[in-house]
Amino acid sequence: MRVRIVAKVLALIGGVVSFCMLWPMGWAYMDKTPDLVPLGIGMFSGFGISGILYLWGHKAKAPDLGPKEAFGVVTFSWILASIIGGLPFWLNGTVPTFTDGFFEAMSGFTTTGASVLTNIEANARGILFWRSLTHWLGGMGIIVLSLAILPFLGVGGMQLYKAEVPGPIPEKLTPRVQQTALFLWGVYMLLSLLETGALSLCGLDLFEALTHTFGTMATGGFSPLNGSVGQYNSAAVDWVIVVFMFLAGANFALHYMVLRGKPRMLLQDPEFRFYSVLVLGAILVIMAFTLAGGVYHDFTTALRYAAFQVVSIITTTGFVTADYELWPFCTQLILLWLMFVGGCAGSTGGGMKNVRVMVVLRQAKAEMMRLLHPRGVFPVRIGGKSLGNGIVASITAFFVLYMGLFILGTLLMSGLGLDVTTAIGSVAATLGNIGPGLGGVGPVHNYAAIPLVGKWILSGFMLLGRLEIYTVLLLLFPATWRR
């Protein structure tokens, strides 16, 4: 890896992230609240760090990024963004330590939504806006954002794009990667605008409409309210958010196709169909159990709460309107499984992604067919198209790695003294970028009580989950660092 080139590109991305702090500073300036200062310091330290990196790296030849450098740039830019982004929380006193600030920012950028804040509403609007804005920036991806606005990243940009965009086979929408990035952000902004409008119609003010939109469209889950979305106790708000969470969990390339006038692409897409069926099925089952278990007594209430929780968990958003820990235990297990499935490839959601689950299931079926017909040739197909053996193997390996990391994480967390449910819940919720987990980190609790080391570990898991493991793990290989 040519470290200087990495440093140079990192400097640019760090600059972009720091620049974005102007927006929350605007809120702070309007409100004349003291959080203007820490945000300002955060922004200028961001520029400072980027400047140092640039000075160190600018002598490197034109940024022709190879695959190795691309992995480095993507992983380190997320870490850099979280360092810069975490500073205001710490400086403002929102969180007691830098670790907490870093955790909160990482949770924001990776759209996890796991918070260490106990009393959220005690904070000024500027800092809360920044907290939600990290979601929105990280949702479509800070690299994709940089690709869209920095044209000179185009060279080697596909490497960066591939390393950041979720899903086994990132697709380009147009021949030029910059244009693809622009279109993706365009669709993202359009949907965000629509949601902000819809929430405003439901009676939310601009600040709350925007912050909730950021949380929804990025499938993040930070809310500026202590009681999350449940605090509104409004069916209209719930349903608007359910719809947009569901859309954010689908492939944005498909949304782009629909906007281009090909709505049938959406219904024909095998992953979208799988995702829809899974969501509907889970909602129905959970409704049945909650009604039978006496949690809810009428159909519409059960539907509303089941739909919100299911969509929020499977899209890895993590908003809550009901304490699902009070639901029958089996419904909690269903939610835990949905945490592993996650959103679709090319969405802002986390988890393993529907398409990977589909491939693993189809692969299992193909293996059984092979036992039945020893001489048979059975390709793994998605939507009639067969996948190459390389992709299937890579997806199976991803599946194994994901589960392996989950087990490792659970071990580490229980080693730190957490009880089993909390350990499982916290790792599943951070690796899948969901936010609320089970037990001590359940929907009505938060991550403040996790030990310091645990917060670093969980931050690592959030990064692994957002960048889909390979990108991050590669940096642990010495071969990646060799020239």
Binding site: M369, H373, P374, R375, G376, V377, F378, P379, R381, G384, S386
Partner: protein, 453 residues
């Protein structure tokens, strides 16, 4: 007529020979020296050695604007070469260009031929795949030929011993089943064949050529005393070439519950096939491996189709399949000599992909004004042709009885708008009717004259 034929493979050779025999001026372009020499030695045609997709070579063969060539037939093994030669030919005054298209995409929609400026594009693989599908679906039929764009067909049955139709005259047959749209157009008895009249009595053992609709064929099967038809359940295909692939694709599309298994030896081909086909189970192995065939259920299969590139393998494997218990064994055979062995082989049916190509080409030569398909029912000495009655036809306004059609000509079906029916003696022909005519080979032009087709 001046004819240029590009490519002297199996199809090219046959067609060139037939054309030359009928007295046309034939020029053959062939690149391969051995093939060129064979044509030169055996046929009375001119041979140009070279690549038929190059303007200079075509010019040498006489394709120029000054003296237009009447017919050009491109039938090499390569689609690209065929399309290109026809395209060059059309721009150099060729009246009619016929191209062979092996890749099925080109004949999937008719617009390709039109857009490429080629008059007729024929895929022998497609028509033979269709025939195989029909033979599988109509399990007791020995042969079938498609007519009226696939809405009807000629089906060949052998009359069973105690069949309801045995010993019945054709007049009686029509009287007993007035609602059955069907007509028997040819009968093969022993070594001779003839076009039947109303008094002809059908006997057990007769090979009967019946024109009928696809959805009524089952009634004919009953009348001919065929074994009770069961729905198609399992089909084994051997060979994953164009024909095998196309048969599998058609079965997947039209027969929802059929279990299709395709065997090919080449593992790369199997990989590709398994990716391109849907629910067909692709097996990589040797079709001569008895254990494999038994394991994959050849014994309980309703069809065993051999479609490899070699005629001999297809015949031998077809016999193997039959001996292992398949109900119907079908072999793809390209050489004429083998086709004529049909009676001596324990295979249920032989199909020939080159026949449809040759028929279509011969129709253009013999009856250039008739539209639609002509089918040579090869070894029986009778021909079938589809034509549209034109405005100026002398047959308009007269009943069929008054047309005085000579013996040996049968007006089998009339297609009027959406309606298809078997004409009676008092049926009047209208302009625009599409007629399907059956005639002894030497009577066809006479019949066409009478109808003005």
């Amino acid at each position: 007529m001046r004819v240029v034929i590009v490519g002297a493979g199996e199809v090219g050779y046959t067609v060139s020979g037939q054309m030359a025999k009928e007295g046309h001026d034939v020029t053959v372009i062939e690149w391969d020296p051995a093939r060129a020499e064979k044509v030169e030695n055996e046929l009375d045609v001119m041979v140009i050695r070279g690549n038929g997709a190059r303007p200079q070579v075509l010019e040498q063969a006489g394709v120029t604007k000054k003296s237009p060539v009447d017919l050009m037939i491109a039938c090499t093994e390569k689609d690209e070469a065929n399309l290109l030669s026809c395209w060059i030919g059309k721009r150099n005054g060729v009246q009619k260009a016929i191209s062979r298209a092996r890749n099925l995409e080109f004949t999937d929609s008719e617009s390709w031929a039109r857009e490429l400026g080629i008059d007729i594009m024929i895929s022998p693989e497609r028509s033979v795949a269709r025939e195989i599908e029909e033979l599988l679906a109509v399990s007791s039929a020995l042969r079938t030929v498609e007519i009226a764009g696939g809405r009807a067909g000629v089906y060949v049955f052998r009359m069973a011993e105690k069949a309801p139709l045995a010993g019945v005259s054709l007049k009686e047959f029509r009287k007993r089943h007035p609602d059955l749209v069907s007509i028997i157009v040819f009968v093969e008895r022993g070594h001779t064949g003839f076009l039947p009249g109303g008094d002809t009595v059908l006997l057990p053992g007769d090979l009967c050529y019946a024109v009928s609709f696809r959805n009524q064929v089952w009634r004919l099967e009953d009348l001919f005393g065929a074994r009770r038809r069961k729905p198609l359940r399992r089909v084994l295909l051997v060979g994953g070439g164009k024909v095998g692939f196309q048969v599998a694709r058609r079965l997947e599309e039209h027969h929802k519950n059929v279990d299709i298994r395709l065997i090919d030896m080449n593992s790369e081909k199997c990989d590709r096939l398994s990716r391109e086909l849907g629910r067909t189970v692709v097996l990589c192995g040797d079709a001569a491996d008895k254990d494999l065939l038994n394991y994959e259920g050849v014994g309980s299969s309703d069809g065993f189709v051999t479609t490899t590139a070699s005629d001999e393998s297809n015949i031998v494997l077809g016999i193997l399949g039959k001996s292992l218990g398949t109900s119907k064994s079908i072999a793809v055979v390209r050489r004429k000599a083998f086709m004529q062995m049909e009676k001596h082989l324990p295979v249920d049916a032989l199909v020939n992909p080159h026949l449809s190509m040759a028929s279509a080409i011969m129709q253009q030569v013999r009856f250039p004004r008739s539209r639609g398909q002509l089918s040579l029912l090869d070894n029986i000495g009778a021909e079938m042709i589809e034509g549209v009655i034109p405005q100026e036809s002398a047959a308009l306004g007269r009943t069929i009885m008054n047309l005085d059609l000579p013996q040996g000509i049968i007006l089998a079906l009339v297609e009027r708008g959406k309606h298809i029916f078997v004409p009676w003696g008092d049926t009047e022909l209208l302009a625009g009717d599409r007629v399907i005519l059956f005639a002894a080979s030497d009577r066809m032009s006479e019949a066409l004259d009478i109808l003005g087709v």
